[in-house]
Every structure is written in C-alpha cells, then in structure tokens.
Symmetry: C2
C-alpha cells in the first residue's frame, strides 16, 4: 500500500498545478490553486534566488495552505562557439524581421547554473517551503537528505518506468509520471540517443506497478474525465499544466492563451528549437524555420538564452509566430476560466 498523497502533501484535493517556468506561475495562480484545496507550484527553474524568495514571500501572504516550488536540476552542457555561431546565424533572419538591434546575449555557464541551484535550495530551507519538485534529473543524495532533514517533501519527474524507479531509489517521496502528451519541457533524464515517448495511458499503470511511492499523472489532463481516468489507471493525483496555464490567473501571455484556445489535437509538436531541450508546443513559424536544424542546435540552456529576445519581441509586437506556445495534446479541452471554476469542475 503506497502512502496517501493527500496526507503527505496536506492537501484537500489531489490536484497539482504544474510548475511552469517563465512567468506563468504568478503568485495569484499559485495562491488560488492552494486556496482552492489543490497544490500551487512556483515554477522557479529560471529564477534567481532573490526572485524566488520574493515570490515565496508573496505567495505566503496570499495563502496559508501548502504550496511548492519546482527547480531544474543543472546538467552539464556543451558551449560550442561553432554551434552558437551557426544558431545565431539562423536566428538573425528572425531578429531582423522583429527589428531586434541589441543582439547581445549573456550566455549561461554550468558553474553559475549550479550555484544558482544551490542558492535556490538555500531559500527553500530558509523559507520553510513544504514541497519541492525537480525536473531534468535527480538531486544528489546529500541535497535530498538535507531537504528532508528540514521537513521538505520531495517530488521527482519521470517519463518512463525506469526513471520512476530511479526517482524512488533516490529518495523522492512521490513521482510525477509525465506522458508524451504533456506540454512544455520533457522531464526525461535517462535518454541514450532516441527520445522514448510513452503515452500516459501506458505509463501510469506500469509505473504504479513498479514503485512503492505515490504516482502523480501528468500530460493532457484537462477536465474531470482525465482526472478520473488517472485514478483508474493507478495514479493518486494529477498534475495539470495547460489547463492552469489557460486560467485567468496565470501569467501566460494572452497570445499564448489564445493560441491554445484555437488549437486542435494535431497542432502541437515536440521541438528543441526554443531551448535546446525537447518541449511540446503549438506549431508556429519559429518551429518551421528552426526544426530542420534541430540536431545541430546548441545545448540547453544555451539555445534558450539565444532565443530569449526573439520570444519576448514576438510577444511585445503582438504575434505568436516566434513565441514558445507550450501546450499539451488536449488544447481542444482548454477553457477561458478561473482556477476556482477549473477545480470545481474536477471535484464536482
């Protein structure tokens, strides 16, 4: 018998708002979810320690219920001057089209990324954040032991049964199993060559059978149908991204929300064009231009830094053609609604 996820997270409903990075998880979104009895999550992947601390303090002012923070595990990456130059050359055409004149990019370095991660962890301990989840890998034993010692519940991310087992082994208290339907970045971390894309219908029961920790389902879940199906399949909770991203409280750009509300099941693709890591979003002109060069693009997070100005300029200029329009495979189920309406629909 697995531990009860609602008990260990101290939440009323087994509903987790996916920790989407890049400004989507506003304090309003996180607090609304937690106040409604779910688990709001700050997507802190790209935040500095001080930004993170500021938002944690804000969230605490707006809810007394548990909430969580998601961090990206820093992974070694290549910084190839040649690849960077090739990518910059590809991006130049778009930058010109968008009249981006200041093309200076402060490239990330692994050492800094790791330092930032350690500083983020320090903030979680300092602020006594009750729950921390991880994407892109697993923390070292020293880190997870330390977090646990401070009473922080740990949630990892897996895209295969094997990754779910590695999560359990590394001491995670629960694991999000992310189906290939999921929007945004894939949390895979054991790839050898080809990406293993497992549908959630297959992933949940197989993972549930092979770990003793609670399984949280993610990918394409938008309404009560996916919510109930996840429990039938053996999950104890759902983690929903696109559904919360479309809510009024989310910080996603209006063009992003509109693109989701207008998309069909066939309109999303997996692409590494925006960040250097595979992520699912709605197909647009940026992807058309970059996708065929994907095998030669710089690693994450270099490519992410190189495309940042383009994405921002696209949004500022009112076109979604060069924005990263992250979305799962169920955009036809998205609704322009409040968090309260979404959660009420799930639990009714």
């Amino acid at each position: 018998m697995k531990p009860d996820i609602k008990e260990i997270l101290s939440i009323k409903y087994p509903i987790i708002q996916a920790p989407m990075a890049g400004g989507i998880t506003t304090t309003e979104l996180v607090a609304s979810v937690s106040n409604a009895g779910g688990l709001g999550m700050i997507g802190a992947g790209y935040m500095s320690a001080s930004q993170l601390q500021a938002q944690i303090k804000e969230v605490k002012l707006q809810t007394s219920n548990p909430f969580g923070v998601n961090l990206f595990i820093p992974n070694q990456f290549e910084n190839s001057a040649q690849k960077n130059a090739e990518a910059e050359n590809l991006l130049k055409q778009i930058e010109d089209e968008l009249n981006i004149t200041d093309k200076y990019v402060d490239l990330p370095a692994f050492k800094e990324e790791r330092e930032r991660f350690y500083n983020q962890l320090q903030i979680l301990i300092e602020e006594k954040v009750p729950i921390c989840s991880f994407t892109f890998g697993l923390p070292e034993k020293g880190i997870s032991d330390n977090l646990k010692k401070h009473g922080i519940l740990l949630i990892g991310t897996a895209t295969t049964v094997k990754e779910a087992q590695l999560n359990e082994k590394s001491g995670m208290d629960a694991v999000v199993v992310q189906g290939m339907e999921a929007g945004g970045h894939r949390g895979s971390f054991t790839l050898e060559g080809e990406e293993k894309l497992i549908g959630l219908m297959s992933l949940i029961p197989q993972a549930a059978d092979h770990v003793t920790i609670p399984v949280i389902a993610a990918g394409g879940i938008m309404d009560r149908r996916g919510y109930l199906a996840s429990f039938s399949l053996g999950a104890q909770a759902v983690q929903m991204g696109t559904a919360f991203l479309s809510c009024k409280e989310s910080g996603a750009h209006l063009l992003h929300k509109k693109a989701i509300l207008n998309a069909s099941d066939q309109d999303t693709v997996l692409t590494a064009s925006f960040s250097g890591k595979q992520a699912r979003g709605i197909h647009n002109r940026f992807i058309s231009l970059l996708q065929k060069h994907e095998d030669n693009l710089p690693d994450y997070p270099i490519q992410n830094s190189l495309t940042k100005k383009i994405r921002a300029a696209s949004a500022a200029q009112g076109t979604s053609e060069y924005m990263s329009l992250w979305s799962g495979q169920s955009p036809m189920l998205a609704k322009d609604q409040t968090v309260k309406e979404l959660i009420n629909n799930l639990i009714r």
Copy 2:
C-alpha cells in the same frame, strides 16, 4: 446522446478484440472472445476471399454470438524498381544470415489489392457477417451504403480528431480512436508529411466531443485499469490488441508472446521497416538494421512482401530478431492467460 455501442453491436461487454492480421486472430481466439461476451474480430487484411470465407464458416461453428471482420482499405502505392532493388540489397545480408535461398517475391499490384478487397466485401455480404471494421482509410460511399443495406455495422479507425470526424461523415456507425500507444500498424490516413502521434489520454475526450457516433478506445489498454479509464475519458468500448495477442488462444508465435512478456515500456518503437507503413513493435535487430533507411524504403505493401520470407524464416529458426514483434506500449501489463481470464479480469 450517442447510440449505445453494446446495443448496436449486440454484445454483452464493451470489449473488442483488435483485428490483428497475419494469423494472430485464430478461430479459437475470435470465437472465445465472442463466446465470453466481447466482440471477436477476424483480422482479414492479408487474406484472400476464400481464406476469409473459410474462417468465417469456422467461427460460426464455434460461436453463435456476433463477431466481426476487419479489412484494409487499399491505397494507391508506388512500385519503384529502384527502391525495390535498394531494399532487396539491404535485406540480402539478413537473407544470407538466415540461409534463405529462394528469394523470389511476388510483388503486389494495386489493381489486385483492390480486387481482393471487393471480393472480401462480397464474402461479408454472402456470409451475413454482422460487423465490419476498416483500417488505413474509409470505404467509398457506394461500398458503405451497400454494406449497410445488407445490415452490416461499420466501424472505422482514426488517430486524430479530424480523422474521427471524417469517419462519422463517411457513415461509420462507430469509430476506433487509436492512441500512439497502440501496437501494430497505425491507422492514420490523413497524414501530410509528419506523423501525428496523439496519446490516448488526449485523443479520447477530444474525439468524443467532436463526433456523435460512439468512440472505441485503443492503445495500451491491457487490464481493468485502462478499461475503466477509457470509459471515464468518454469512450463506450475498448479495443485491445496486445492483451489478446498474449492470450493462449491467439495464433501469435510463441517467440512473439515471449518477447512481449519480457519487454518494458521503453522497448517498443514505431517503424516502417517491416511493411512500408508505420507500426509499433518491440525493437530488435531487424529494426536496428533497417530503420535508418526508412525514408527510402518501398511503399506498403511492397516492403511487406519483400520482408515476408525473412520474418517467417526468423520464426522458424527460433529467433525473434527478424520477426515483426508488434506490441503496444504496455507490455509490462501482459499476461500469459486465457481469453476468459482476461475478460473476467476486465469485468469483475
């Protein structure tokens, strides 16, 4: 309110055994499923009209319950002497390894394929088969009208919402929505370039919202968990392939069954290497050798004919390395059991 699938198919349980072609759907398998209250299906895609008629007569002797037949819609294909020669050259190394000396291949022609299809349809009418399903496309209006005039219920196959809508428009009485998890051939028929892989968790509710005919879920469903989840998501029935293929009554080669029972969620891939059309199966040496040449392989069903002797010789010589080991993404849920045991587990 959609029509009730159990009523229109006159079945006790909303369980359809997927019509797997190539000798898997033995009379024993089909009749056992129908006798247990599900719907047994003859996978007749590769059968001649006389073979089909013989099996229909056999099935009738073993069950008085409804059963169905699945046909492949014949599609135009290219017969390129150059591509065939290139493929034969690639296959030669394997043929030599397996000591295949008689390399003569009777290549299929579209005209014959279409004639065979018409003859198969004639048999269905003559034998008053109650249910006919289609893969790889939709029958022309004249054909579906004629089958309906003879009281035959029609089921189509879709891999996207758009394909589900085309099924409804063409007069299908129900539609199988095949998630990307599904084993064997993809039923896609509206591809423009890239394959659209939609997970079943996303496909069922979006399709159910956009058609008025009953939706049947297929892909990765192996046990009561996937069965119940499918209904939660909006399907009225399930169609299960790998689960029935693994049953004692199926005609799948023992090496094939064994490969499924030993596989993990990560072990299946989509490949056109065996037949010229995308299909999901367990990765083996044949796929390793052919996959990188996939874009230049002959069309279906030419490639299917070219690889036939290799697959047969591999099985005969006791190795599964050159067999087509079709499997969905949930092989870890497969069991060595009887049809009765499988169905009892579903409906318990």
